[in-house]
C-alpha cells in the first residue's frame, strides 16, 4: 500500500547520544523515516534497539541524560527539536498523543477515568464542564466501552487491563491528534484482549486522519496491523518498507533472523502416547483463596484451582495454557507445595506431595524443580552465581567437590562460560539469567522441571534459544517438563500435550496438533482465533538464506 500524501511526521538523520559508559555511543543513530496520515507505521525491534527512545524524542519526553546530537524531527511542518517546553506542552495531547505499555501506571489512580479524559479538554480547549463531559462520553463510546455513564465515574483499579488501555486510547484520541504514538500498547494484555485493542486501533485509524506510529517487538502484531514497517537494531534502521515487502520478502539478515524466530503455528502432528511410566499423577486438586473481610470490603472466596486431574509420562512436555488469572501459577505452586492445596493428591514418582508434612517433604523436593518467569527476581542479587548453583546439591548432602563438578557440567549444558560462577547476577542479561536458573534447577538431578512462563520476559530470538535448550535438556536428561505459558504459539513449539485452563478449570486437553487444528471448547477456539498475524504466511527463511539452514546446532 503506497501512500503519497505529505508525511505528518518526518524524522531525518536523528541521532541521540547515550550518556558515557554504555556499550554503544548513540541510543539512536541516523534515523530517517516518515509517518503519513491514515497510515500505521510499525517500528519493530528487540529490547535495547532504541525504538522507545525514538518515540520519546518525538514527544519531547527524553530523559535529561539523553541528548539529541543531530538530525531533525519535522512534525506538521515544524522541527519539534527546536520547540521550547511551553510549545511542546501545547503540542502534546493536542496534535500528537501517546499510548503507553502499562495502562495501570499510565493512569492516575486517584482520579476517575472520566475526569482524566476530561482533563485533556480542560488543558487544551475552552469547553465548559457540560461540553467536556459530553465529549468524554462520546469518546468512551467510540472506544467501545460498555456503559459509558458508569465508567465515567470509575477509578482505574476498577477496570480490567483491556478497559484501561481503551481509556488510554480515548484520552489519546480526545483532540483528534494528527500523530498517535503507541508504545507496545498490547504487550501487557492477554491475547484475546490484544486482539480487540488491535482491531479497535485499526478501525479508529480508518475513521480518523491520524498517522499511527506503533512500537512493538512482535512480528505477528506487525502482520496484523502494519501498513509500513521499520526494523531497528542497536539504534539503527536495518530495513524499512511496506508491510507486504518486509513480511514476505525480508532483505536484511537481522530481519530474517527475527522473522525466523517467530513461533510457527503447530504442524498437524500426531500425539503419540508414550509407553514410559507416569511421573506426575494429579488427582482432584483444589485450592481456594479466601480474603478476609473487613469493615470496608466483603470477604471473597476465589477458586484458583478447581478439581484438576492429569498425568504426565516420563520424557513428555505438558503445556498448561491460560490467560492471566486462569490459575496456572497457583496450580504449579501447589504441585511444588510452595503453597498447600486444599484437597487432592499429587503423586510425583511415587511420593504424595500433597499429604507429606513439610519436614518430610524436604528430602523429596529435589524431584521437582522450577524456573520462574522473571529472570531478574529469581536470582539472589547478593550472592555469586556459583554459591547459588551449588546450594541445592549441598542441601541434599552432595560433597562440595562433586557439587562443583555438577555445576561446571551444567554450565556447559546451558552454554554458559565457567567463569560465570564468580560473578553476580547483575552482570548477566535476561536470557543468560534464565540459563543460569535452569542450571540451578538441574543441579539436584530433578525428575520434573516446571517452567513457569520461563520465556515470556525474553526477546523472541532469545526465547527461541531458551526453548530449544529446554527441549535438548529434556531429551538428554530424560526429564519431564511442565511448561506454563499464556502464549499458545510458544506452547505449540515445545509441548506434546496441552491443558487449556480458564478460571481454575481445565477446559480442554489434547495433543498440540489436535488442539490447534480442531479445538473443541469455545474458549480454546477464541484463544486460537485471537493469535495475531493469522493471515501471515510466515516465509521459510531457509528459502532465502542458505546460511540459516547451515546454522550450527546449539550455537548461541
Amino acid at each position: 500500500m503506497t501512500n503519497t500524501t505529505k508525511p505528518i511526521l518526518s524524522i531525518r538523520n536523528l541521532t541521540v547520544a547515550l550518556p558515557v559508559k554504555i556499550e554503544r555511543a548513540n541510543a539512536v543513530q541516523n534515523l530517517t523515516f516518515d509517518v503519513r496520515p491514515k497510515e500505521i507505521l510499525c517500528v519493530v525491534g528487540e529490547s535495547g534497539s532504541g525504538k522507545s527512545i525514538t518515540s520519546l524524542a518525538t514527544m519531547g519526553l527524553l530523559a535529561s541524560s539523553l541528548r539529541v546530537t543531530g538530525g531533525e524531527i519535522e512534525f506538521d511542518g515544524r522541527d519539534v527539536l527546536t520547540l521550547d517546553q511551553a510549545e511542546h506542552n501545547a503540542l502534546r495531547g493536542d496534535r500528537m498523543a501517546m499510548i503507553f505499555q502499562e495502562p495501570m501506571t499510565a493512569l492516575n489512580p486517584a482520579y476517575t477515568v472520566g475526569d482524566q479524559i476530561a482533563e485533556v479538554f480542560r488543558v487544551h480547549r475552552d469547553y465548559d464542564g457540560d461540553e467536556r463531559r459530553k465529549r468524554t462520553l462520546k469518546l468512551l463510546e467510540e472506544v467501545r466501552l460498555p456503559d459509558p455513564e458508569r465508567l465515567y465515574n470509575s477509578y482505574p483499579h476498577q477496570l480490567s487491563g483491556g478497559q484501561r488501555q481503551r481509556i488510554m486510547i480515548a484520552m489519546a484520541l480526545a483532540l483528534d491528534p494528527k500523530l498517535l504514538i503507541a508504545d507496545e500498547p498490547t504487550t501487557a494484555l492477554d491475547v484475546t484482549t490484544q486482539k480487540q485493542i488491535l482491531h479497535l486501533l485499526k478501525q479508529l485509524n480508518a475513521n480518523h486522519d491520524a498517522g499511527i506510529m506503533f512500537i512493538t517487538h512482535d512480528f505477528s502484531v506487525v502482520a496484523e496491523i502494519a501498513d509500513r514497517v521499520v526494523v531497528m537494531r542497536h539504534g539503527q534502521i536495518v530495513e524499512q518498507g511496506t508491510a507486504q515487502e518486509v513480511l514476505s520478502n525480508p532483505q536484511h539478515p537481522y530481519t530474517r533472523a527475527l522473522i525466523d524466530a517467530v513461533p510457527r503455528r503447530a504442524q498437524d502432528r500426531d500425539h503419540v502416547v508414550s509407553e514410559h511410566p507416569v511421573v506426575i499423577d494429579v488427582q482432584n486438586l483444589n485450592k481456594t483463596f479466601h480474603t478476609a473481610g473487613s469493615m470496608f470490603k466483603k470477604s471473597r472466596t476465589v477458586s484458583a484451582v478447581k478439581n484438576i486431574s492429569f498425568q504426565v509420562r516420563r520424557g513428555e512436555t505438558l503445556g498448561i495454557v491460560g490467560e492471566s488469572g486462569s490459575g496456572k501459577t497457583t496450580l504449579v505452586r501447589c504441585l511444588m507445595r510452595l503453597i498447600d492445596p486444599d484437597s487432592g493428591a499429587i503423586n510425583i514418582s511415587g511420593v504424595d506431595f500433597a499429604s507429606q508434612t513439610s519436614a518430610a517433604l524436604r528430602q523429596h523436593r529435589k524431584d521437582i524443580q522450577i524456573v520462574f518467569q522473571d529472570p531478574y527476581g529469581s536470582l539472589n542479587p547478593r550472592r555469586t552465581i556459583g554459591s547459588q548453583l551449588i546450594q541445592g546439591a549441598i542441601n541434599f548432602g552432595v560433597s562440595r567437590e562433586e557439587a562443583w563438578d555438577r555445576v561446571y557440567k551444567l554450565l556447559e549444558i546451558v552454554q554458559m562460560p565457567k567463569y560465570s560462577v564468580h560473578r553476580y547476577p547483575s552482570q548477566f542479561s535476561g536470557g543468560q539469567r534464565q540459563r543460569l536458573c535452569i542450571a540451578r534447577a538441574l543441579v539436584v538431578n530433578p525428575k520434573v522441571l516446571i517452567a513457569d512462563e520461563a520465556v515470556s520476559a525474553l526477546d523472541v530470538s532469545i526465547q527461541r534459544e531458551v526453548l530449544k535448550l529446554i527441549n535438548d535438556i529434556r531429551d538428554r536428561l530424560g526429564l519431564t517438563v511442565i511448561f506454563i505459558t499464556h502464549d499458545l504459539r510458544v506452547a505449540a513449539q515445545i509441548c506434546d500435550e496441552v491443558l487449556v485452563m480458564k478460571h481454575g478449570e481445565v477446559v480442554e486437553r489434547g495433543g498440540v496438533g489436535r488442539i490447534f487444528t480442531a479445538p473443541e471448547h469455545d474458549y480454546t477456539k477464541a484463544l486460537i482465533a485471537a493469535q495475531p498475524g493469522q493471515d501471515w504466511e510466515i516465509p521459510m527463511m531457509a528459502e532465502f538464506a542458505p546460511q540459516a539452514a547451515a546454522r550450527k546446532v546449539g550455537t548461541l
Partner: protein, 304 residues
C-alpha cells in the same frame, strides 16, 4: 545469522567481577556527606581509643585552686595553654574529660545499637518471613513498645534497678529496637515474595538457611542504615539520662554529665555547656551524615 547470537553471549571473561559490595564502595567513595561524616567518626573513635595517650591531664584529678579556668581563646588572665579547654567547677581539665567522655558515648552508642539491632532484626525477620500469627504477636510487641515513652520508662527502670554503665546500655538497648523491627519486617516481606526464595525452598534449603543466605544479605542495607540512626539516638538518650542524673554516674566523664554539671553555671560560664554540647552535636551529626550517605549508596535505584 550470527547477528542474533551476539545478543545472548557477549565475551566478558576479562570484565571485572562487580560484586554488589564493590559497586557500593565505589558509590560511597564519591559521596561527600558520607566521607565527611565517616572522617569525623573515625577521628572521634581514634581519640577514644588512644584517650590515655592524648589526654593532657588525669580526667578525675581535681585541683580546686584552678577551678573554672576558661578556654585559651578567652581574653582572661586565668586562661592558660595548660588547660586548652579550661577546667570545670572542680578544677578538672575539660579537654581530658571531653576525650574520655568520647569513650563513654561511643561505648554506649555501639553497645546499645548492637543489642537493639539483634533484637529488632530477629523480631523483624520472623514477623516478615513467617507472617500470620507470628507477625500478629510481633506487631503487637512493636506497637506496645512504640506506645511507651522512652525517657520515662528508662528513668523509671533506672531509678528502681540503680544506675551503672551496664544498666544504662541494657536499658537503652532494650528500648530502641522498634525501628529495626519495623523496617526489617517490611523489607523481609518484600524479599520473601521474590522467586529466588521460592527456588531455595524448592531446592530443599532449610528455613534458617533461607533466612541467613537468601533474606539477610538482601536486607542488610536497611539494617546498616537504621543502625547508624539508632546509634545516634542511643548517644543522645545517654546524654539525656546523664543530664537528668540517672545515666552514667559521676565522676565518670560523660558528655551528658558534663552538660548536667555545668547547668548551674550556664549564665556565667556558657562555654562549660557549649564545649561538650558541640562535641555531642558533631558526633551525632557525623553519624547521621553516614546514615544518610549509606541510604543514598544502597538505594535501590543505584543498584544495578
Amino acid at each position: 545469522m550470527s547477528t542474533l547470537e551476539n545478543n545472548s553471549l557477549e565475551p566478558m571473561a576479562d570484565a571485572p567481577v562487580l560484586s554488589p559490595g564493590k559497586v557500593m564502595l565505589s558509590h560511597a567513595k564519591s559521596h561527600r556527606g558520607l566521607m565527611l561524616g565517616g572522617l569525623v567518626i573515625l577521628t572521634i573513635m581514634l581519640v577514644a581509643i588512644f584517650a590515655p595517650l592524648l589526654a593532657p591531664h588525669d580526667p578525675y584529678a581535681q585541683v580546686l585552686s584552678r577551678k573554672l579556668v576558661p578556654p585559651v581563646w578567652f581574653d582572661s588572665s586565668k586562661a592558660t595553654w595548660d588547660h586548652i579547654l579550661g577546667t570545670d567547677h572542680l578544677g578538672r581539665d575539660y579537654l581530658s574529660r571531653l576525650i574520655y567522655g568520647a569513650r563513654i558515648s561511643l561505648l554506649i552508642g555501639f553497645s546499645a545499637m548492637l543489642i537493639s539491632g539483634v533484637i529488632g532484626t530477629v523480631l523483624g525477620i520472623c514477623a516478615g518471613y513467617f507472617g500470620g500469627r507470628v507477625d500478629m504477636v510481633i506487631s503487637f510487641l512493636i506497637t506496645t513498645r512504640l506506645s511507651m515513652p522512652v525517657v520515662l520508662v528508662a528513668l523509671a527502670v533506672i531509678s528502681i534497678v540503680g544506675s551503672s554503665l551496664t544498666v544504662v546500655i541494657w536499658v537503652i538497648g532494650l528500648l530502641i529496637w522498634d525501628r529495626f523491627a519495623v523496617v526489617v519486617r517490611s523489607a523481609t516481606q518484600q524479599v520473601r515474595g521474590l522467586d529466588f526464595v521460592a527456588s531455595a525452598r524448592a531446592l530443599g534449603s532449610s528455613t534458617p538457611r533461607i533466612l541467613f543466605s537468601e533474606v539477610m544479605p538482601n536486607i542488610s542495607n536497611h539494617v546498616i542504615v537504621i543502625a547508624t540512626l539508632e546509634m545516634a539516638h542511643a548517644i543522645l538518650l545517654e546524654a539525656a539520662l546523664s543530664f537528668l542524673g540517672l545515666g552514667v554516674q559521676p565522676p565518670t566523664p560523660s558528655w551528658g554529665l558534663m552538660i548536667s554539671d555545668a547547668k548551674g553555671l550556664m549564665f556565667f560560664d556558657g562555654w562549660l555547656i557549649a564545649v561538650p554540647g558541640t562535641a555531642l552535636f558533631l558526633l551525632v551529626l557525623a553519624i547521621n551524615l553516614v546514615g544518610d550517605g549509606l541510604r543514598d549508596v544502597t538505594a535501590p535505584e543505584d543498584r544495578n
